[in-house]
Amino acid sequence: MYAYDHFDRQLVSQRVAQFRDQTQRYLAGKITDEQFLPLRLQNGLYIQRLAPMLRIAVPYGTLNAEQLRKLASITRKYDKGYAHISTRQNVQLNWPKLEEVPDILEELAEVEMHAVQTSGNCIRNVTADQFSGVAADEVEDARAYCEIIRQWSTFHPEFAFLPRKFKIAVCGSESDRAAVMVHDIGLQIVKDAAGNTAFKVIVGGGLGRTPVIGSVINEALEPKHLLTYLEAILRVYNQLGRRDNKFKARIKILVRAMGAEAFKADVEKEWAHIKDGALSLTDEEISRAQSFFQPPAYESLPQQDMQALALENADFARWLQHNTHAHKVAGYRIVTLALKTTGVAPGDVTAEQLEVIADLGERYGFGEIRSTHQQNIVLPDVRQQDLFALWKELVELEVAAPVVGTLNDIICCPGGDFCSLANAKSIPIAEAIQRRFEDLDYVYDLGEVELNISGCMNACGHHHIGNIGILGVDKKGQEFYQVSLGGSQGLDASIGKILGPSFAQDEVPNVIEKVLETFVSLRQPEERFLDTFRRVGMDPFKERAYA
């Protein structure tokens, strides 16, 4: 994991002092609401429906035990004793007080954390595959490059007032767990024929009001050019992105209006000025960044047969199958803690749970903990021989629901219960669906189904790329829900298609049930929901849902 040096520490503490001063000047009436808005947003602070919301950065979803304990203590001292994992791997506090935010930031700085650029029209916290460094299908660890990008984008003087927010995701695995096709910039690590690392650069993807799958503008960018190329893209976007309409201000609109080829030509023209300049990455810098992400001291263990392990206990077997993933090192397994307990908002985690998870991370691993964009938590390095003991502790902690990758592993934004942007509530919808599908055998028979819920067009719940997406809409002051089908993340990403007219809140579980019944009746053996949908199209689902 990256460790701050004197320089990083100084910058973060200067940021705290800067924001403390800005907050004081705001409270003294010397900064207007309008001026304070981008300043607080770039420190993660929203003014929400019930209270401010503070979004704390978790760069590329990596945390250590000490940081988890600090988060737990902050939620007790300044908030209501729980935190929320967002769909961009960050941590959100729902009840901080504006005047205490500088104190919270100061405490975070003690453990090398901050809330820098977690909101606002700037380059946001960079995200990555939550299994980086441990995934069995990894091409190369994305985290060193994420850290390089994090540093370049932090307090970038030219790009703090972009037309709109800007999100970068990096994936280093064959299967995309970072949703690179639907980011402003997605970077997919690839290897050329000679085995050299390169980046496939995807630009102009995005969700929100206008979902778009990104365009590849560079098939294989050499690592040394990573930052100069990003800087060229941002410079073109900063100058040409629309500023007259916030709904048309994302880079996806610009790329679509210009055409990917013309956009690329402008980028390359800009790039020519800086290509081999001071911002070109040196081999030393890449090695330095990589040195922080070296494999921990794994033991040499035999690979155990998973089926034999599963014989231990039926409940354990289900958990083993759904909540653990293959590790690149023999004898180890990646474990996902599901923050998806029915009746609790997806992604919510209490201070007590955070503290126990910190302990578990140390006892069953090397003290590293990951947050995921599916709003779960990952212990990346668990010995297979410890899985049963760990599972028992996770059951006790109520984070062992064996639902990862199933219908009940719902991605859900905070919605109208908290967010002032939302048109409708989303958490009660998630709960109603989880209650309707309590029969796990049925859920398992359905196989892989991603169900994502957003409370409004801003699409924080990524509804467009859910196999089943649910979007809250406002219909003459009433909360209604639009259902879409066939969305997916991954390298063959697709945007879901709308099923038809929206539904009232109490109809939603029935509609989802009808959609799933249709799937089951048309499914070929072992077919995934997504594949069935792609094969048969929307019509049969529509007929059944509106029958």
């Binding site: 370049w152 307090f155 030219e158 930052l227 900063n238 100058q239 911002l279 810098e285």
Partner: protein, 159 residues
Amino acid sequence: MPKIIKDLNVVEDSWQVWRDTENLPTTGGVIVPLSLWQAHKDALLALGGIAVFLASDQSPKLLGADINSFALIAVDFPKFADGRGFSYGRELREQHGFNGELRAIGDFMRDQLYFLKRCGFNSFALQSDELDEALASFNDFSDAYQPSIDQSLPIFRRR
């Protein structure tokens, strides 16, 4: 005389911003819109002491070969949230080699001074009664990760 911030000091300044895009000024010492300059170069040059400002949708490229004939170029910020001028500042300094006075005018705010300076601006017609206090914002950070006008090497080449 109005005060501005120039080279990290509060100083009196006599430049006038002339926003009229149709009528010419009658004296020199004015910063005129790019379009006025393009249409009336000779008449403006005859006045002496002419500078030009770029609107937020006017790239420095539009100045063409004239760039280095000016002692001062200004960039207008119609709203502080419109960040195009940050890129224009760097382009003027880095791509066109402009060495004269680069001034921010318009609706930018104190809390942008540090970034503006990093992007090559050295004078600031900041709309504020507290210019002396505002100087503190230039020191928000003592160093930076990225190369820019005030620091040509990224931190990774200096660590």
